[in-house]
């Protein structure tokens, strides 16, 4: 396991401490930091237990309030009322904002939140601030997440009566590698060492693998490979995984995910109730924040009720002579959120397709996450998979954190006499990684859904005679054009021996190890030689964030096509 890319002071004093306690390996805790809620679980030696805070809550709201001098988060802090969170003093939805630049649509949709999300729309990090005594005090999603994690850490330390350092965190499938570094950064700020970052549905897959394993133990025989489709939809993200499970080994076959979730449903519904909502929150004055907050609470409440009722009456006084009095029924709600459900459907179809699995081969359909209570979502999954029922063996809001806790125990080297931890998840890459070549095209070197660890290579060549330098610009994503993908970094290869165009072979190799660390290697070979013409370049990525699209533009302005590459057409 690699140390996080960023090291902090607390990292240096750990070596001695870890050695002394090596007889009892520290069990890493599992943390599921959701967009809206958060929970912590740990393997207690025989099973996974979910930790409770001092108010006896298993689920804690993910937010940090900056009201007083010392910020306090949802773990320790008691909300006097839901509205308190919506006064502008609290920052929440960190998971939607972390690692995103201000041209990102997800950042733009966050502008209706009570705290300040200001964008300049040029690809820099958004300005995020909390309202403290009538002052917008700036912060960052990393800082907010770190404050929150410190509280979680303290809570776990009190309950487990030992210092906590190692954690397994769940992350959305659609997170870019840059976003992953931001999560690692937040953990480092909180003094936590990330043992694993698990895509949420793969944590659920691990829990499923354990349940299947136990079922096999109980009735001897069986144990054949079972394919499960897992959909995890919370407030911020919708993720899908197809996994093949047997003997405690969960082989992820495909992943798909998008930043779409309960927050989008909430905002769609709010816009439906109040079409000129934009005007209200664009001003972002005290009264407007209060009105939007009231509407938010009322809408959230109505959506929850629609999980069990066919229609709901919404009656809310937003102040400033603005009143909403409306009945919303199930059908209307589904129509308003059509785009969300369509996206979910396309993710499921894509994931099944990528996994090369037919719906009839799927043994179990698992729907978890906060949105799993929405009838439309459940029906939609069942209709896509042509099934009458969903898997019932899991608590929808606890599955991911339990899976993370299992992984925490497995990755800490804990073994269980009853074989309950004889588990393994074989992960795949959620997004393709490749370089810019053939003009402005994104050429994947590691396709998405490649089993990790992996190492793949692709050969490129020069586009100009006597071209001695080439630019390797690395992207992650699914778009055909480079701009549609996340930039991970760039470097230059120098000293290519002069040769006609198309002759030098530039090998680009990408290596992802078991700790999900990406290294990009590039080397040059001339025909007839088996030796690299120049020393190989090795770069650990990501080195930059999405915002550095500018730099790439600048590179193009400076060098034109002078440093371009094309793929070598290979005969198969």
């Amino acid at each position: 396991m690699a140390e996080p890319a960023y090291t902090v002071a607390s990292d240096s004093d750990t070596t001695g401490e870890e050695k002394s306690s090596s007889a009892f390996p520290e069990i890493a805790i599992g943390i599921d930091v959701g967009t809206s809620q958060c929970s912590v679980a740990v393997w207690n030696g025989s099973e996974v237990v979910i930790l409770k805070n001092t108010r006896n809550q298993k689920k804690m709201r993910s937010y940090v309030t900056f009201k007083d001098d010392i910020p306090s988060g949802g773990v320790s802090h008691q909300l006097s009322h839901e509205h308190e969170m919506l006064s502008g003093a609290a920052i929440f939805n960190m998971k939607r904002l972390i690692g995103r630049v201000d041209t990102d649509p997800v950042v733009h949709s966050s502008k209706s939140l009570p705290f300040l999300v200001q964008t300049l729309d040029i690809g820099v990090r958004p300005f995020i601030a909390a309202l403290v005594n009538n002052v917008w005090r700036s912060t960052t999603p990393e800082e907010v997440l770190a404050i929150f994690l410190v509280e979680l850490k303290a809570m776990a330390e009190v309950q487990l009566k030992r210092p906590i350092r190692n954690v397994v965190l769940t992350i959305p499938v659609s997170f870019s590698r840059f976003q992953v570094t931001r999560i690692e950064r937040a953990c480092a700020m909180a003094g936590l060492h990330v043992l694993r970052l698990m895509p949420e549905p793969t944590a659920v897959a691990l829990l499923y693998a354990q349940q299947q394993q136990q079922a096999v133990h109980e009735n001897i025989g069986g144990g054949a490979e079972k394919i499960a489709l897992i959909l995890n939809m919370g407030a911020g993200y919708c993720d899908v995984a197809v996994t093949a499970t047997a003997g405690g080994v969960s082989q992820i076959k495909a992943l798909a995910g998008s930043a779409i979730g309960g927050e989008d449903i909430l905002q769609n519904t709010m816009h439906h109730l109040l079409p000129d909502l934009e005007i209200l929150f664009s001003k972002h004055g005290i009264n407007e924040i209060k009105s939007t907050g009231l509407l938010r609470v009322a809408t959230q409440d109505a959506i929850h009720k629609l999980s069990s009722q066919t229609s709901v009456q919404i009656d809310v006084d937003l102040g400033n002579e603005l009143k909403i009095c409306k009945v919303v029924d199930q059908e209307e709600f589904e129509e308003v959120n059509k785009n969300v459900f369509e996206k979910c459907e396309s993710l499921i179809i894509q994931c099944l397709h990528d996994a090369k699995v037919q719906t009839e081969d799927v043994a179990d359909i698992i729907v978890v996450g906060g949105c799993s209570y929405i009838p439309k979502l459940r029906n939609l999954v069942m209709s896509v998979c042509k099934r009458q029922e969903l898997y019932k063996g899991m608590n929808p809001v606890e599955a991911a954190v339990c899976g993370a806790a299992l992984e925490g125990a497995v990755a800490s080297g804990i073994s269980d006499p009853f074989g309950s931890l004889d588990l393994l998840t074989i992960q795949v890459t959620p997004l393709a990684i490749g370089i810019r070549a053939d003009g402005n095209k994104f050429v994947p070197v590691i396709p998405r859904n490649t089993t990790m660890p992996t190492r793949k290579e692709l050969a490129f060549t020069t586009v100009h005679d006597n071209q001695t330098e080439a630019l390797i610009v690395v992207y992650e994503g699914e778009g055909e054009k480079v701009e549609e993908n996340h930039l991970l970094g760039y470097f230059k290869i120098m000293g290519i021996p002069p040769a006609p165009k198309g002759v030098p072979e530039i090998n680009v190799c990408m290596d992802i190890d078991a700790s999900n660390v990406l290294r990009v290697l590039a080397g040059v070979v001339l025909p007839g030689s088996r030796h690299p013409a120049i020393p190989v370049m090795e770069v650990r990525m990501p080195t930059v964030d999405d915002g550095h699209g500018w730099c790439v533009e600048a590179l193009h302005r400076t060098y034109g096509s002078g440093l371009d590459l094309v793929t070598i057409q290979k005969k198969i």
Binding site: P25, G413, E505, D513
Partner: protein, 185 residues
Amino acid sequence: MACNKDCFTASLPHWSWSSTTPCFVLPFHTAKPFYSSPETQFSPSKRSFKTFAATATEVRPAAAPPSSLYEVLKVKRTASLTEIKTAYRSLAKMYHPDAMIYHHPEEKPAESESELESSDGRDFIEIHNAYATLSDPAARAMYDLSLGGQYNQGRPFGFGVGFGFPESNRGGFYTTRRWETDQCW
């Protein structure tokens, strides 16, 4: 099929990376024998890419031809899909970098981490590549064809299956011992 001779010849320097990449390339012919007996397999080979690149320039002796994909998975050439899947899973439990922590809990956590880091999970990559080919009926058929051809040609300096070392008794698998596994690494 002309490329197949290359991809199963260990003398091919690492350097040619994918210039002749055929469909069934075994990407890492590491010196570390991963399909050796369980008692010897965990000797960690601390090779980062740097040493890998350095050794790549030496032309290595073509003494040990990489075994077939069937040998990688320790299954018979007649193995059914279920047998292949089972073999893959049990090998994954032993050789996946995550699982290796599990199988060696007595090691100091920090230390084992760094060892696993340096082993890069290449053994598992080979196992997975073998599985990817053999679990796909079309790819397996093509591979079988290429394998047949190769046996007929014979490998330069190689010991074909059944030559060199006697077959191992373990479960009637093909021999997994070879020149490299019998050295003290």
